[in-house]
């Protein structure tokens, strides 16, 4: 299971963070340490968040952000996930001048989006279901969060 997208090393439950940048740095650090992404990944994600932010206002009370960047900064695909002890402001993808109060951050390290399309579609399906978003948010541990997220990601797998 050394190549699983999710690992307790980069799933952070009830993360205390004051800013979007801090969340992204905390999530990216274990990916760099594990060799999933290049050291350049962090700045590339932060830069992309400045020019093309990724806050997504959802239909329920909890909102998400999906920071990511170009594939050349990624060595092997991974999803780093944080649930936030207190919501953090990310700028909105659709209206960058507005902010979204984000409770779950999923940092996407992608190498070949078309190979990972089922996973991406599953994430979009998750975002469309406030009850399942809440279930992921309320996970007590990294292991439980991974279990709940895998249940979502495996639904579409052929």
């Amino acid at each position: 299971m050394g190549d699983a997208l999710l690992s307790p090393q980069w799933v952070l439950v009830r993360l205390e963070a004051a800013s979007a940048e801090e969340v992204i740095r905390q999530l990216a650090a274990p990916l760099v340490a594990a060799g999933r992404v290049r050291p350049s990944f962090v700045d590339a994600v932060l830069e992309r968040e400045r020019t093309n932010p990724t806050g997504l206002p959802l239909s329920g009370a909890l909102h998400v952000a999906i920071p990511h960047t170009e594939v050349e900064h990624v060595c092997a695909p991974a999803l780093a996930v944080a649930t936030l002890a207190r919501p953090v402001a990310f700028r909105s993808m659709v209206r960058p001048e507005e902010t979204v109060s984000v409770s779950i951050v999923i940092l996407l390290a992608l190498t070949e989006p078309h190979a990972q399309i089922e996973m991406l579609m599953s994430l979009a399906e998750l975002f469309q279901d406030p009850d399942r978003v809440r279930a992921v948010y309320e996970a007590c541990s990294a292991e439980e969060l991974i279990q709940r997220l895998n249940a979502v990601l495996e639904r579409r797998r052929p």
Binding site: T54, P57, L58, I66, H68, M93, V94, A124
Partner: protein
């Protein structure tokens, strides 16, 4: 003969978001009996590419004076208003030449 309509799907980096949007549009319009082909691009590439397409669907802001209809929406990621947006796309494509 119905040529498939061409839709340009844009997001920030043409990596994650537009992949999801393009697939959701293809599935949603196939269900409405409208064959489409999509191409993904970065928002910054839209002005240069738009003229070759019947419609631009984007998650992030793009210029509005492209000479092609533009729909900016997160519906394919958040599900909010997804059916309405698919109906709107179908309407634009049916009206188009």
């Amino acid at each position: 003969m119905n040529q498939p309509k061409r839709i340009l799907v844009a997001c920030g980096t043409a990596i994650a978001t537009s992949t999801v949007v393009a697939k959701a549009i293809e599935e949603g319009l196939a269900a409405r009996g409208i064959p489409v082909v999509t191409r993904q691009c970065k928002a910054a590439e839209v002005p240069a590419l738009a003229k070759e397409f019947d419609l631009v669907v984007t998650t992030t802001p793009v210029p509005s004076d492209l000479g092609v209809p533009v729909i900016q929406t997160l519906a394919f990621l958040t599900g909010i208003g997804k059916d309405q947006v698919l109906d709107q796309i179908a309407e634009i494509l049916r009206k188009g030449k």
